[in-house]
């Protein structure tokens, strides 16, 4: 099979082009370092099956960070038919050097000048035929985001593939020398590239004046976060209620009568086990979708790099830098890609310290648990504020961890980061990105959430003949073993069973509760609010927030750190911190008479 690879500097639109070319939904974002691993897709191009590989962005071929290693290893090991190099024409003055370096690999190449829409707006003019002649390779302008120029590019790629029938290995041996390129670079730029100097303050600059204001910047950041969660709450909750109501109606009017002839234990397993358990989790899908659409807007806006700028002074005092804070924000979606995102850091200590704090980031799976408890135990007006306080707690847990361990993981990591201009996502991009992230949630629901729910049902219903979920069931026995640990935190015996399963994945927690209390979405809230007060609930949420996020995160920590020692250390630290925090909160609140 033929193979082509997409290469270029970070944030030039490689993944956007990859998505347009292959119809995939690779993650796109206005932040250098979104893609940190290989991603490939097969398409039919010019009558042949072609494998297209999207690679992480690189600044040059000499980098040592783990995302750059991915690229180098790919070039060394995998022969390709052609390289598609993507550059941002408005920044060609600094990006052309990489093109020249890549040319020395001796592979057939095409240069794509992406973001032609922005180039035109800024008055950047490139003499495309002249540049192509001088570089001795095809050059084309396009906008991967909006599609202008794409058909021609596709056609040119077909032509190259026709000329280069068999894959070839790159000549990576010649990577060493590149200082000689300076002269050629200057000539090329002088003859073929016109980049007018920006005189008037653009709108990006005007927005920065407000958002990066020395004293208003951070308060505005937290205000925006609060508003985002208010919006998720406001839009998502009614949708969730409607879905919950529908699922209940389906159950009582169709499912229950249809299963009436089955043995009672089987009926109970299907209805109160699988249906209630999985159904209750599924009611969160609309909120999760709204949340991820919101996240994709933030990630595509360019604000992440501004957040790094605002937080860098504080983070540097904690032995980290602004990028670690951005990973923390990315972790709000899911901790796993955030942990992988630390590959852009070169120093191992800085990377490990960042990976140590990411698991405290309040991910969307934990968000479900908190949405449930806050909406059950707090008034609609205070619930979003309680939720916001948990986000603040999540950041505080991360900062505290860094403060305690910064000496153990001290590093010198230079901090130099591109701040891309603000951009608006297209509607299509917004929803496809949001949907792609939520699919992860659905995939979980169909796999281990079902397994978890089945296991919880079995624990609460065996041995048969005793009260379900009572002290004599397996769950009851297990809970009494756990009691010495959880009783000082005010966490109910049965809830501790849910926490046990939450170790595997937080999505299971709510499903497990539905099964444990043998009730569906609607009634579950009532049962929970009768069993616990807000102090207990908040203590429970604090524990859920801080202890291990899920097995997938543990696996990612192990994979990225390549150290079981570090992974176990991270696990123990977060468990200990969770216990102490919720102990202090619960006992403190009780001592105050709350």
């Amino acid at each position: 099979m033929k193979k082509i690879a997409l290469l270029g500097m970070p944030n030039t639109g490689k993944s956007t082009f990859f998505n347009r070319l292959t119809g995939s939904i690779a993650k796109v974002g206005n932040w250098p370092g979104i893609t940190v691993d290989l991603l490939s897709a097969k398409i039919l191009l010019g009558g042949d099956m072609v494998e297209v590989v999207d690679l992480p962005g690189i600044y040059n071929l000499h980098g040592f960070s783990d995302d750059e290693q991915v690229v180098r290893q790919f070039l060394e090991e995998q022969p390709v038919n052609a390289l598609v190099v993507i550059a941002n024409p408005t920044q060609l003055d600094r990006q052309l050097a990489l093109v020249l370096q890549l040319r020395s690999l001796g592979l057939p190449m095409i240069l794509l000048l992406n973001m032609s829409d922005e180039a035109r707006r800024l008055g950047v003019h490139i003499d495309v035929p002249g540049l192509a002649r001088a570089l001795r390779m095809p050059v084309a302008e396009l906008s991967a985001k909006y599609g202008q120029g794409f058909p021609q590019v596709r056609h040119q790629m077909e032509q190259i593939l026709r000329q280069q029938g068999t894959p070839r290995a790159a000549q990576t041996g010649v990577l060493q020398e590149d200082d000689a390129l300076g002269q050629e670079l200057n000539t090329l730029l002088r003859q073929h590239v016109t980049i007018p100097v920006q005189i008037k303050a653009g709108w990006s600059e005007r927005i920065d004046k407000l958002l990066l204001h020395p004293w208003l910047g951070l308060p505005l950041f937290f205000l925006a976060m609060l508003l985002l969660f208010e919006a998720v709450y406001g839009v998502g909750t009614p949708l969730q209620d409607a879905l919950g109501w529908t699922l209940d109606t389906v159950k009582t009017t169709w499912l229950a009568p249809a299963l009436a002839g089955f043995p009672p234990l089987l009926q109970n397993f299907l209805l109160s086990g699988i249906y209630d358990g999985v159904g209750t989790v599924l009611t969160f899908l609309p909120i999760i979708l709204v949340f991820f659409v919101g996240m994709s807007v933030v990630e595509d806006s360019g604000y992440l790099a501004r957040a790094a700028f605002l937080m860098d002074a504080l983070m540097s005092r904690l032995g980290l830098d602004g990028r670690a804070f951005v990973m923390q924000l990315m972790g709000f979606g899911c901790n796993v890609p955030a942990i992988m995102g630390t590959r852009i850091m070169r120093s191992r200590s800085a990377r490990l310290l960042s990976m140590l704090i990411i698991p405290f980031s309040l991910c969307s799976a934990r968000l479900q648990v908190f949405l449930f408890f806050t909406s059950v135990l707090f008034s609609p007006r205070t619930a979003p504020l309680v939720l916001f306080s948990l986000y603040v707690m999540s950041l505080l847990a991360a900062l505290l961890t860094a403060l305690v361990w910064k000496r153990r993981f001290s590093s010198y990591e230079p901090m130099l980061l591109e701040m891309p201009p603000y951009r608006l996502p297209t509607l299509r991009q917004m929803f496809s990105q949001g949907w792609q992230q939520s699919r992860h949630f659905l995939a979980g629901a169909s796999g281990f959430i079902v397994l978890g729910v089945v296991a919880v049902w079995a624990l609460t219903h065996f041995p048969t003949g005793v009260t379900p979920a009572g002290p004599d069931t397996l769950a009851g026995i297990l809970a009494s073993w756990l009691e010495p640990v959880f009783q000082p935190l005010g966490i109910d015996k049965l809830l501790s069973i849910a926490l046990l399963f939450g170790f595997v994945a937080k999505e299971i927690v709510i499903g497990a509760l539905a099964v444990i209390f043998g009730s569906s979405n609607e009634a579950l809230g009532g049962i929970i609010s009768a069993r616990m007060d807000w102090v207990q609930a908040y203590g429970f949420m604090l524990f859920t927030l801080i202890y291990t996020p899920c097995l997938a995160t543990v696996a990612a920590l192990q994979r990225e750190s390549r150290s079981w020692g570090f992974t176990s250390f991270s696990l123990l630290w977060s468990l200990g911190l969770a216990w102490i925090t919720s102990f202090l909160f619960y006992q403190g609140a009780r001592a105050l008479g709350l």
Partner: protein, 83 residues
């Protein structure tokens, strides 16, 4: 001897030309890849509070750079806006 001016000392709104970089190989390569190379004209846009990083524009690239790293770039300030 004349004291050298570094990027760290340039106040927001001021332009300068890069004279040289005295950093390690890897760091200078990253600086050059981001457009910070001898001869480039730059504009300091702002400095973050609490001794935070600088935001600098070189061509159409905006970069954040910590003061520590900015001190490794010596520059020649020039009056007025970008030319």
């Amino acid at each position: 001897m004349l004291q050298r001016t570094t990027l760290e000392q340039i106040i927001p709104g001021q332009c300068a030309v890069i004279q040289g970089i005295s950093a390690g190989r890897e760091l200078s390569r990253r600086m050059i890849a981001l457009g910070l190379r001898p001869g480039s004209q730059l504009l300091v846009l702002r400095r973050a509070a609490l001794h935070g990083p600088l935001q600098v524009r070189v061509g159409h690239t905006e970069i954040m750079i910590r003061r520590g790293e900015a001190a490794k770039i010596w520059v020649q300030p020039y009056p007025g806006g970008p030319t």
